[in-house]
């Protein structure tokens, strides 16, 4: 694994058993065993993310972003390829990886029938904190994410923005080295989104955290990312800083860059998901 890289993935392949559909293709690998069509979610994906940077995966739904995040966070095993996070091999030592990563999934994950504080304290316990440290850390995070006044309210009653802030706080309880954010701002109002962007930027610059985020918003990638990787049909088709990508393609916006590589407009590819 390359030195100084917080995330390194080589040749990731992941297929899922598929129903007969447009996206399905015969899986050549398992040829003899079963001739069933499998969906190839990842098709030899490579990534390297330097420490302390913000890396953004953009691409339409089904491009393989979420599958990549699942493999890197030990929630799924690739069929082929290798990956390491913070220098720890995801396949050989998934438990080791779990200790150093924070994950904020697409869906909230907070327990709605518990209070925000209880959610955070439990999370602290699961990372091995004793009750006193877990409570201290919970209060610290509640204050930081402006949730102190809602700390003892059930998460069920939180607004979308508050829930999302709690989700990020849950991912930070153990001060992870690498933070995964799967569509962190989807469904947020513009104000909450701007606040979230500011926080993500701060995590990388002040706390020197490595952040990998997936997004549906090219504007988000443009604003935040040190590196943007455009993912299409299970591979990274282009990678670079936002300005490099624009320069390379002669495009003025990331939208045009996307069009250049994917052959279709980003929004057009995205419309189908709604």
């Amino acid at each position: 694994m390359q030195h100084g890289c917080a995330i390194e993935a080589r040749g990731l392949v992941k297929t899922y058993p598929g129903k007969s559909g447009a996206a399905a293709s015969p899986d050549s690998r398992s040829g003899g065993k079963r001739a069933k069509a499998r969906i190839r979610a990842l098709d030899g994906l490579n990534l390297s993310v330097p420490r302390g940077t913000i890396f953004t995966l953009v691409g339409p739904n089904g491009a393989g972003k979420s599958t990549t995040v699942k493999i890197l966070t030990s929630l799924a095993k690739p069929d082929e390829g290798s990956a390491a996070v913070a220098g720890i091999d995801v396949l050989a030592d998934p438990a080791g990886v779990r200790r150093v990563i924070g994950v904020v999934g697409q869906r909230s994950g907070a327990d709605p029938s518990a209070t925000g504080r209880e959610n955070l304290v439990l999370q602290g316990h699961l990372y091995g904190l004793d009750t006193k440290s877990a409570r201290l850390r919970a209060d610290e995070l509640l204050a930081h994410f402006q949730l102190t006044s809602a700390a003892r309210r059930f998460v069920r009653g939180y607004s979308g923005g508050m829930q999302r802030r709690l989700d990020v706080a849950l991912g930070l309880v153990h001060r992870p080295q690498v933070l995964f954010l799967d569509e962190p701002t989807t469904g947020l109002d513009p104000e909450s989104r701007a606040a979230m962007w500011q926080e993500i930027g701060r995590l990388a610059s002040e706390d020197r955290m490595t952040v990998l985020l997936t997004t549906h918003y090219l504007e988000e990638a443009d604003r935040l990312a040190d590196t943007v990787a455009i993912v299409d049909v299970g591979r990274v088709v282009a990678e670079g800083t936002p300005s490099q990508l624009k320069e390379r393609t002669g495009a003025r916006t990331l939208d045009d860059v996307y069009l250049h590589y994917a052959g279709r407009r980003f929004e057009m590819a995205e419309v189908t998901r709604a």
């Binding site: 699942k70 966070t73 030990s74 929630l75 799924a76 095993k77 438990a95 779990r98 200790r99 150093v100 990563i101 994950v103 999934g105 697409q106 869906r107 909230s108 994950g109 907070a110 327990d111 709605p112 029938s113 518990a114 209880e118 439990l122 999370q123 602290g124 316990h125 699961l126 990372y127 091995g128 904190l129 004793d130 440290s133 850390r137 610290e140 995070l141 204050a143 930081h144 994410f145 402006q146 802030r165 849950l170 930070l172 309880v173 153990h174 001060r175 992870p176 080295q177 606040a195 500011q198 926080e199 701060r202 002040e206 706390d207 020197r208």
Partner: protein, 275 residues
């Protein structure tokens, strides 16, 4: 978002390494907290058993007088082990629903990306089911007692009934969790439940002595784990429990519960590898 979370570059919170026992404790605490906050859910859970006890019990009160029924006590008391068994099965059948909800909401994945022990996540669900089953069993036993049922077997008898109910609960809870994980469909769980529930109840001595059943029903009921629980309970609550029979059937229930949990944990592990 104003203040700074942590000193820049602060070392990861070290703490002690989590153990399955600690993790089970904390995760069970989460579940029980939710249970305690909604006592209504537990209370509503016993509405159906109460209906069986009192409506069914009243309707067929005179069944006990049929010559050869051979039970000393009221029909209400006769029904108690059956209603306890039915409640243990039906309430734990919903375990899979909770699991699907946690999968859909992302809660399960959130737990799976922490270092928490996999086993502890499943343990917590089993522990929660056990606590719920114990509370409801005691409510049913108490309700019937208030209605005039008497238990010559005493506290020991009630304890045995409760243990058997927990075993049956774990068995069905594990089955329900497995169905939930494999099919991810609430409808499938309801299907499994309705498919098994009434046949298993009527193919047992819950309502009537086995001697009154046709031979083929007797043959099935002797192999019906729900009936084992009914027999354990009725024997334990009687004046002269047949401890050898109780031990044998409890052994059978333990074996099935362990098997069901092993299968359910295996399913869970494969889910965790391909969430």
């Amino acid at each position: 978002m104003t203040a700074i979370t942590a000193p820049a570059g602060a070392a990861p919170a070290a703490g002690t390494k989590g153990s399955p026992v600690n993790d089970t404790w904390y995760l069970t605490g989460r579940k029980l907290h939710a249970l305690v906050r909604q006592p209504v859910v537990i209370a509503f859970g016993v509405v159906q058993p109460a209906i069986w006890l009192f409506l069914f019990g009243e309707l067929f009160r005179k069944v006990i007088d049929i010559p050869g029924f051979g039970y000393h006590g009221s029909y209400l008391a006769y029904l108690v082990p059956g209603v306890v068994a039915m409640n243990a099965m039906s309430n734990n059948m919903w375990a899979g629903m909770t699991l699907i909800e946690e999968i859909d909401r992302g809660t399960l994945n959130r737990l799976l990306v922490t270092p928490a022990s996999r086993l502890a996540i499943m343990n917590a669900s089993v522990a929660e089911q056990a606590v719920g089953t114990i509370v409801q069993t005691l409510i049913i036993v108490g309700l019937a007692m208030a209605g005039g049922a008497r238990y010559p077997g005493g506290v020991a008898g009630v304890a045995v009934v409760t243990v058997a109910a927990v075993l049956v609960g774990i068995l069905w809870g594990a089955l329900s969790n497995m169905t939930g994980m494999l099919l991810r469909s609430r409808e499938a769980i309801i299907g499994v439940y309705t498919f098994f529930m009434l046949p298993l109840m009527f193919l047992s001595s819950a309502f009537i002595q086995p001697g009154f059943m046709p031979g083929w029903m007797q043959a099935i009921s002797s192999r019906n784990p729900l009936n084992w629980e009914v027999q354990i309970g009725r024997s334990a609550l009687s004046a002269a429990p047949d401890w050898a029979g109780i031990a044998e059937r409890c052994g059978g229930l333990v074996a099935l519960a362990v098997l069901a949990v092993v299968i359910s944990v295996t399913t869970f592990r494969s889910y965790a590898k391909n969430a």
